[in-house]
């Protein structure tokens, strides 16, 4: 009896611990009770889970000072992000958006995210407390940003308004760059002034956070609290890793508790955007036109192929061609190798990975140490990236220009005046 009870206790005890660890390691994690209620699809568990998922996908909106958006917006956003990441269950998209239902489905979605990738590690990295000054890193956002309130365009939008807004955006970008330059100047000053203050010999000067701590002990307390909080989450994450097997076994039972999906569930295509009624006819027309165009092109291609064959049929097959062919193949091989090498090079260790602390060094030949990078290398890498992006931008702009010219040419009587160039 005792042995069995212990075993049962062991299994039963591990699950609440695992869930508790998970909840402690998530930012704004819901209580373990919510998890339990969600298994039984209780409606009161739904809001907390909607909010958690929202928080996971939009860390910027998770700032405590900002007002959280309406439940409908949250729900729509969560659904669209999950869809774009490939969440396989259609039951999620069918949930109502008023936060009232779907706790079990949301629990499944959360576990799916946890199982797919290093979710916890990513979240912890996002909220990491930094003591040093960091190289600002721009990461392409993994998920689309929060959709702003959708403005229905009533009737045609005046192009001038769009230009006005574009101009405002451009001004803000410029001001952002100016502020960043200001930040750099000031950082440089702080690093210069606090030379020799740091106990760590390899760093030699203080960062902004450290200087603030010295100036304002109250701030130091807050920093300490933040670090303790982060520590607690890290410990919870470690415990979670230890116990997660139990959680996955339990999730199997949750999945089992779901009603089976409809027969079309598995084969249902990815969610299609709803098409407003009157436009359906237009789309059919367009589809037919495209079909006809494709058939036409195929015929043209066939005739061309036949003529080419007739002209060049004999060529390329004689013995004298084998050398040329071999030479061509070698040239292509070399190009491929060169491309691969440049690809490897651009992913060399000078690529900043993870947060790096900015340290001002006086020696010209100073070795950055095992983990360090010299700013010059990072700058070089960033410059090559910049030039790649610029070439791509120019290509896209050229494409746009050609497209516009084509469209303008199609309208008789339209005169094309380009903006003045210097």
């Amino acid at each position: 009896m005792g042995r069995r009870r212990r075993r049962v206790d062991g299994a039963a005890g591990a699950l609440p611990e695992a869930i508790a660890a998970l909840s402690r390691s998530l930012p704004a994690g819901p209580s373990p009770e919510i998890f339990r209620r969600a298994k039984f699809d209780r409606p009161e568990a739904a809001p907390a889970l909607w909010q958690l998922l929202f928080r996971l996908f939009s860390p910027l909106a998770a700032d405590n000072t900002s007002v959280p958006p309406a439940p409908e917006t949250q729900a729509r956003f969560v659904k669209s992000v999950l869809r774009s990441q490939g969440y396989p269950r259609s039951a999620l998209s069918q949930l109502p958006e008023d936060n009232s239902q779907g706790s079990r489905e949301l629990l499944l979605a959360l576990s799916w995210l946890l199982a797919r990738g290093p979710l916890l590690e990513r979240l912890l990295a996002q909220t990491r407390v930094h003591l040093g000054d960091h190289v600002p890193q721009w990461e392409a956002p993994a998920s689309p940003g929060l959709p702003t309130s959708h403005v229905e365009a009533e009737g045609p939008v005046d192009l001038r308004q769009v230009q006005w807004l574009m101009g405002k955006l451009r001004f803000r970008w410029r001001r952002l760059v100016s502020s960043q330059q200001e930040q750099c100047t000031l950082l440089s000053k702080i690093h210069l002034y606090t030379r020799g203050c740091h106990s760590d010999q390899s760093l030699r000067h203080l960062s902004v956070a450290e200087t603030e701590m010295l100036r304002d002990p109250e701030g130091g307390h807050q920093l300490l609290q933040a670090l303790q909080h982060e520590n607690a989450r890290l410990e919870a994450a470690l415990e979670w890793r230890r116990l997660e097997l139990v959680f996955w076994k339990w999730m199997d039972t949750v999945l089992g508790a779901c009603p089976p999906e409809g027969p079309t569930g598995a084969s249902q295509p990815t969610f299609l955007p709803s098409i407003p009624g009157p436009r359906l006819g237009e789309l059919e027309l367009v589809a037919q036109e495209l079909q006809a165009l494709q058939e036409e092109l195929q015929k043209v291609v066939e005739t061309r192929w036949v003529t080419w064959e007739a002209q060049a049929g004999g060529l390329g097959r004689g013995p004298e061609w084998s050398t040329t062919r071999r030479a061509l193949q070698e040239a292509v091989e070399q190009e491929l190798v060169a491309l691969r090498e440049s690809w490897e090079q651009s992913r060399d260790p000078a690529q900043p990975r993870g947060p790096y602390r900015l340290v001002r060094s006086e020696d010209k030949d100073g070795k950055p140490g095992a983990q360090g990078l010299r700013a010059a290398e990072v700058i070089k890498v960033l410059r090559t990236q910049e030039s790649c992006l610029e070439t791509t931008l120019r290509q896209l702009q050229e494409q746009c220009r050609q497209e516009l010219a084509r469209l303008a040419g199609a309208l008789p009587g339209l005169i094309w005046i380009l903006p003045p160039r210097r």
Binding site: D158, Q163, F171, R175, S178, S179, Q181, P420
Partner: protein, 453 residues
């Protein structure tokens, strides 16, 4: 954030001096009608933007003085130094020994490239002394020779080298009956070049300011010094510190940026006009009191009727009833009646500023159809009084005011061009007829865009 002022030519340098003087005197004025702490914050903010400290000396203006001859620059430097309250940096100036004979093309094609490196060097040194650069404020005349041609060239260079910094050109519109016979050519060329490389063109018309001096300030013989002081007063009322938000106690850090973002984001509409109320001689100041309601009512009517001062306003002009086209809508043959705005910025300074009611400026009828007043209108406030005016209001507006004057200038320039008068002065130095045509085209486009609001 700091603003570096570039003073170009005789006009630019003389006005620049008055501007810095007005800013300094106001920020150190004891009749600010606010607490000492408030006053100190105001002073510090103004200081950060326009001056810098060096050791224990007087504050140094963040300015670069450029001219082709030494006379005006030396006068300006010494005038500032003599005041013993602030001064210019002796080294932040560039001048040559000889003038350029009022030739725009010479200024643009010869002086510019020849002295490009030295001038940009001087500017760069001044920029390096800023912790954070918000942008450049370039003061120049439009119709002169050197100042204008060189100014256009330098603005272009600033665009290339400091593409992320903002650039505002303060341009002085010449008298309609000016002395320089080719002033319309110069104006056209200057405006078209600046339109391409500057972010905002703040216009002051000599004729309008002259009237203000004569009628409002009761000056019998209006000199350039009087005109410059009025201009400086108007600019000061725009650029002195204001609170960053409703109810905030911090001063706005980047007024140039905020102003531009609100008023000139559209690349076709870059011209701004300033109106200030009240404007009077110092003697009358002590005997006058104002209410915000009265001031704002006048200011609004000044905007609508395109009046430049608070006397002689045409009160008949009314905003159009929504749905109907505005009264007297655009045909340039008729008198322009109603001045449609694209965007407006009202700046209020002084006592009880919180109680000022600016609802009148939020009327959608004042604005063009494609911009809602919520986006088109902004207001800045501070209770600190400006230049001893107990209450004062300034209006910076992007509206149809440049249509008529611009049209006049382009028309006159075109007539001269059609008979090829004086063109050789320009072609001699590399400004071809095609450049003239490009300029006319651009300006006609600007006139058309503004007319079609």
């Amino acid at each position: 954030m700091s603003v570096v002022t570039v003073q170009l030519g005789q006009c630019g340098n003389q006005i620049g001096f008055e501007v810095f003087d007005a800013l300094f005197r106001d920020s150190h004025c004891s009749q600010g009608l606010c607490s000492r702490r408030e006053n100190e914050a105001y002073q510090a903010s103004c200081q950060e933007r326009f001056f810098r400290e060096e050791g224990n000396g007087v504050p140094i203006a963040r300015a670069v003085l450029v001219d082709m001859e030494p006379k005006v620059i030396n006068q300006t430097l010494s005038k500032a130094a003599q005041s013993r309250r602030w001064k210019y940096d002796q080294h932040a100036s560039f001048y040559q020994k000889q003038g350029s004979g009022n030739n725009w093309a010479y200024g643009y094609s010869v002086h510019g490239p020849r002295h490009e490196e030295s001038i940009m060097n001087v500017i760069r040194k001044e920029v390096e002394k800023c912790d954070s650069l918000s942008g450049f404020f370039i003061i120049m005349s439009m119709a002169g020779g050197t100042g204008s041609g060189l100014g256009a060239f330098i603005t272009q260079n600033l665009q290339d080298q400091y593409s992320n910094s903002l650039k505002m050109n303060q341009i002085i519109w010449p008298y309609g009956t000016g002395e320089v016979i080719v002033q319309n050519y110069n104006s056209s060329l200057t405006l078209s070049h600046l339109y391409r490389s500057s972010d905002a063109l703040l216009v002051h018309e000599n004729d309008a300011v002259h009237k203000i001096c004569a009628k409002l300030m009761n000056i019998k013989h209006v000199s350039f010094s009087d005109i410059n002081q009025v201009v400086a007063h108007q600019l000061g009322s725009v650029f002195q510190p204001t609170y960053s938000a409703e109810g905030s106690s911090h001063y706005r850090r980047n007024p140039l940026g905020d102003l531009m973002e609100n008023l000139v984001p559209h690349p076709e509409f870059k011209m701004l006009g300033v109106r200030n109320i009240p404007q009077m001689s110092e003697n009358s100041l002590a005997y006058s009191t104002f209410t915000w309601a009265g001031l704002l009512k006048h200011l609004r009517q000044m905007l609508i009727s395109n009046a430049k001062m608070e006397e002689g306003i045409d009160w008949q002009v009314r905003p159009p009833i929504s749905g109907l086209p505005p009264l007297g809508k655009m045909s340039l043959n008729k008198e322009l009646h109603f001045n449609t705005s694209i965007a407006n910025l009202v700046i209020l300074r002084g006592k009880d500023v919180q109680s000022a009611d600016i609802e009148g400026f939020k009327d959608p009828a004042l604005y063009t159809s494609w911009l809602h007043p919520a986006h088109a209108f902004s207001v800045w406030k501070t209770q600190r009084a400006f230049n001893r005016y107990e209450k004062s209001a300034a209006l910076v507006s992007n509206s149809q005011f440049p249509v008529k004057p611009l049209d006049v200038i382009v028309g006159k320039a075109w007539s001269m061009f059609a008979s090829k008068a004086y063109i050789h002065q320009y072609t001699k130095f590399g400004i071809e007829e095609e450049d003239f045509l490009d300029s006319f085209t651009l300006l006609e486009q600007v006139v058309a865009s503004y007319s079609n609001l």
